[in-house]
């Protein structure tokens, strides 16, 4: 066996430029609608207002990094609640898995930002440089004024879109109208410009230049997807049982009249021409295919034109093609253990999140026992423990909390530097939408029998709104 020296091999793949042709049909239409919706939301959402009362930002969706808050319509997330995002990510993962189990790479073909922006950029390219054939011809032709202005105009519009994409991104991190004004007058913080520059660059290069190579070489999802799929998941499939052997319409008639086999694929290559990743679906399922369904639209157009039934390329499974070949009925099983499990998991996680959110406290308390010293003996022999108590007020108004303690008999509670109510409960007032730390002393009289350690509960009750939060800790004694 001979071994070619690996060093002699080309280090890079000769990149073949893809010239996707325009196409129309239901899948294309669905993709346009999704594109307009997604980009519309992305570009305009920062400008949506949401009244939260005084002192709080009125932007519907805002990641307020400086103040450690995240606002989403009626929800205000504190840093310690970022597990909501974990929940969202888990939910997103299950939705992705479910889509994948039902109809393959729905995400890739219709929803992924890479696909959406590439689609938009391709539309711009088509607007300035024409459709596939014209673009190929112009690219082969020598430079001319026509070629130059069309290319420059395309790149210019690309850059504007890319810049606008970065611009919209930073608007999620500050009050949008203010930031727009600052950006326009060059008084915005440097980081805003830097982020816009970074995202302009990534959008321009990912959607304009790298395009399908991102999916083929960079993205982990196709690899994961391949491991997650099963035989019942629908995929964009070329039904070779019906298509092969490929012959022209005329020849097919001739062959059929003699009783010889003839397929429906007339080998027009339209499916290849429209493919955004430049592959031939007739080679079977392949990793480069983002399952956008455009070849279905292209093929159906051709089939209708030549008078054949549509659906030579369709959402189907390889197993069904084989079944048809063997003269059996195709089997579709959208409801199966896998899809039901994912759906169930989505319900569980989603339900848990809704429940969490609905029963969410607007106040919180955390208690930290002082470790040095663990306890203090006072001159009358009583035992005192100290705690650092942090009270959290998520409401937009300041709230007084009264502290009480339960556990060892006769326990008294004081908060250093705070006054007390008539019934000796110390009152700690927490400013709106913030937290406050107080040193709390719990004292148990000398005559109460104490173990080395016993549970103690510290309770904070909002004096007006009545909300009650409590935390448990220990009371230590000699």
């Amino acid at each position: 066996m001979s071994t070619a020296d690996a060093d002699d091999l080309p280090l890079f793949a000769p990149s073949k430029k893809v010239y996707p042709q325009s196409v129309s049909g239901p899948y294309r239409r669905a993709k346009w609608i999704i594109l307009v919706l997604c980009l519309g939301i992305y570009y305009l959402l920062p400008f949506l207002r949401w009244d939260r009362g005084p002192n709080l930002p009125n932007q519907a969706v805002l990641a307020d990094i400086a103040n450690n808050r995240f606002y989403f319509f009626f929800i205000e997330i504190w840093p310690q609640e970022v597990y909501y995002f974990t929940g969202l990510l888990i939910l997103a993962a299950f939705v992705l898995f479910l889509m994948n189990a039902v109809a393959g790479r729905v995400w890739c073909g219709y929803l992924c930002p890479q696909t959406v922006w590439t689609d938009l950029f391709l539309a711009v390219e088509r607007f300035f440089e024409g459709d596939r054939r014209e673009r190929i011809k112009r690219d082969e032709a020598p430079w001319s004024f026509d070629k130059a202005w069309r290319k420059s105009a395309k790149h210019a519009v690309w850059l504007v879109i890319a810049w606008w994409t970065g611009g919209a991104w930073v608007l999620y991190f500050a009050d949008a109208p203010t930031l727009v004004k600052e950006l326009a007058t060059f008084t915005a913080p440097l980081s805003a410009y830097v982020w816009i520059a970074i995202l302009t660059f990534t959008t321009y290069s990912l959607a304009g230049i790298m395009r399908e190579q991102v999916c083929t070489y960079m993205c982990p999802w196709p690899r994961i997807q391949a491991a997650l799929t099963d035989d019942d998941a629908l995929n964009v499939t070329y039904r070779y049982d019906r298509g092969e052997p490929r012959v022209s319409v005329k020849q097919a008639q001739r062959l059929r009249s003699t009783g010889a086999p003839a397929g429906d694929c007339i080998d027009c290559n339209q499916c290849v021409a429209v493919c955004p990743t430049g592959i031939d679906i007739r080679d079977g399922a392949q990793m480069d295919c983002i399952q956008c369904g455009l070849c279905i639209d292209a093929c159906n157009t051709v089939m209708t034109k030549v008078g054949y039934p549509a659906g030579l390329i369709a959402y189907d499974t390889d197993d069904n093609v084989k079944r048809r070949q063997a003269g059996q009925k195709p089997v579709y099983r959208p409801l199966r253990a896998r899809t039901l499990t994912y759906a169930g998991l989505i319900l569980v996680v989603g339900g848990a999140m809704v429940y969490q959110l609905a029963t969410r406290k607007m106040a919180d308390i955390s208690v930290l026992h002082e470790r040095s010293p663990l306890f203090v003996k006072l001159s009358d022999g009583s035992i005192r423990n100290s705690y650092t108590v942090r009270l959290l007020n998520k409401r937009p108004e300041s709230r007084p909390f009264a502290l009480t303690v339960s556990g060892p008999a006769g326990a008294r509670i004081e908060a250093v530097g705070s006054a007390a109510t008539a019934d000796l409960r110390p009152v700690v007032t927490v400013e709106p939408d913030s937290s406050r730390e107080v040193r709390v002393l719990v004292t148990v009289p000398a005559d109460v029998h104490l173990e080395k350690s016993q549970p103690v509960t510290i309770t904070a009750s909002d004096l007006f709104a009545g909300e009650v939060v409590r935390a448990e800790d220990h009371f230590m004694a000699p």
């Binding site: 066996m1 020296d5 890079f12 230049i209 070489y217 203090v376 001159s379 005192r384």
Partner: protein, 295 residues
């Protein structure tokens, strides 16, 4: 095909793709090289990294390292940050310096600043003897309790911090000297034992079976009551501890008491005004006062 041209490209029969020529158990590796731009980025990052060697400190030398042309050092950053911090905190410091203890107590923001500063200063200066949380140890008072040798008001704590206790280097230091009754032959062993028993009895503790309590009471009245008081309640003017409460600095068992009476203790605390500025001492006072025992 052993002696075929080594450099002729091999092709995979099924896909027609060129192979790397590597083969394992009959499985050949297809040649699917990286795209050009990808490789370009890889090389570009390598070249970029060379810039770091030149610009930043990078190469270790025998005793040092290359400095880098812009003279960057994280130490300089820290110095700048610290200076900046000081500047930013100047206003707070000023407010703290000027405020009275009553004002600090009444203003939550000032109180918070004083506490933070006091806590940091306590960790740096006081924790070595008094413990991280002021819990104390034998001979080093627990600052969390309500038993004060020299007084637990803001003013008294501040004075103790500034001038120390029995600190030779400060003329205004707090002084009191309990005699070493045994070592200096002022009392004999029997008297010491008797007075120790007497002290235990007024503290509500058990005494030895054959203790000479009457004798002890007399020794106490003659030698101790002047400072510790007739009832043994102590005297903060002289830093004389209350002998009857549940707290003692050196222990109330017979052995410790005997040792204290015979040789005396007379612990020392430094005068911090020599090392800390007035604002820090003020913050420390607020912090210590807040630990639980402040009066």
């Amino acid at each position: 095909m052993a002696e075929q041209d080594k450099h002729a490209p091999q092709f995979d029969a099924a896909t027609g793709q060129s192979t790397t020529g590597h083969e394992w158990d009959g499985i050949q590796e297809l040649n699917t090289p990286l795209p050009r731009w990808w490789l370009g980025i890889f090389y570009a990052t390598i070249i970029w990294s060379i810039g770091y060697w030149v610009v930043y400190p990078a190469w270790p030398l025998l005793t040092d390292a290359t400095k880098g042309v812009i003279g960057y050092a994280s130490r300089i950053d820290i110095a700048q940050d610290m200076a900046l911090l000081k500047q930013e905190r100047a206003a707070q410091s000023k407010a703290l310096t000027e405020a009275s203890f009553e004002q600090i107590k009444a203003d939550p923001e000032l109180f918070r600043i004083a506490m933070a500063q006091g806590k940091a200063a306590f960790g740096d200066n006081c924790a070595a003897c008094h413990g991280v949380g002021g819990g104390g140890a034998k001979g080093y008072p627990n600052l969390n309790d309500d038993d004060w040798l020299w007084g637990g008001s803001f003013a008294e704590i501040q004075k103790t911090l500034e001038h120390g206790i029995r600190f030779a280097g400060d003329p205004d230091t707090r002084v009191s000297q309990m005699p070493a009754f045994g070592r200096d032959k002022m009392l004999d062993a029997a008297q010491i034992r008797a007075v120790a028993n007497h002290v235990r009895s007024i503290a509500g503790l058990s005494t030895e079976p054959k203790a000479d309590l009457a004798g002890g009471a007399k020794v106490y009245a003659d030698n101790c009551a002047a400072c510790h008081g007739d009832q043994g309640k102590g005297n903060r003017e002289m830093g004389a501890p209350d002998l009857t409460d549940a707290i003692s600095l050196y222990g109330m068992d017979m052995a410790s008491l005997t040792e204290t009476i015979a040789n005396s203790r007379n612990g020392v605390m430094p005068a911090w005004r020599q090392r800390l500025d007035a604002t820090t001492i003020k913050a420390l006072t607020v912090y210590v006062h807040s630990l639980g025992g402040g009066q």
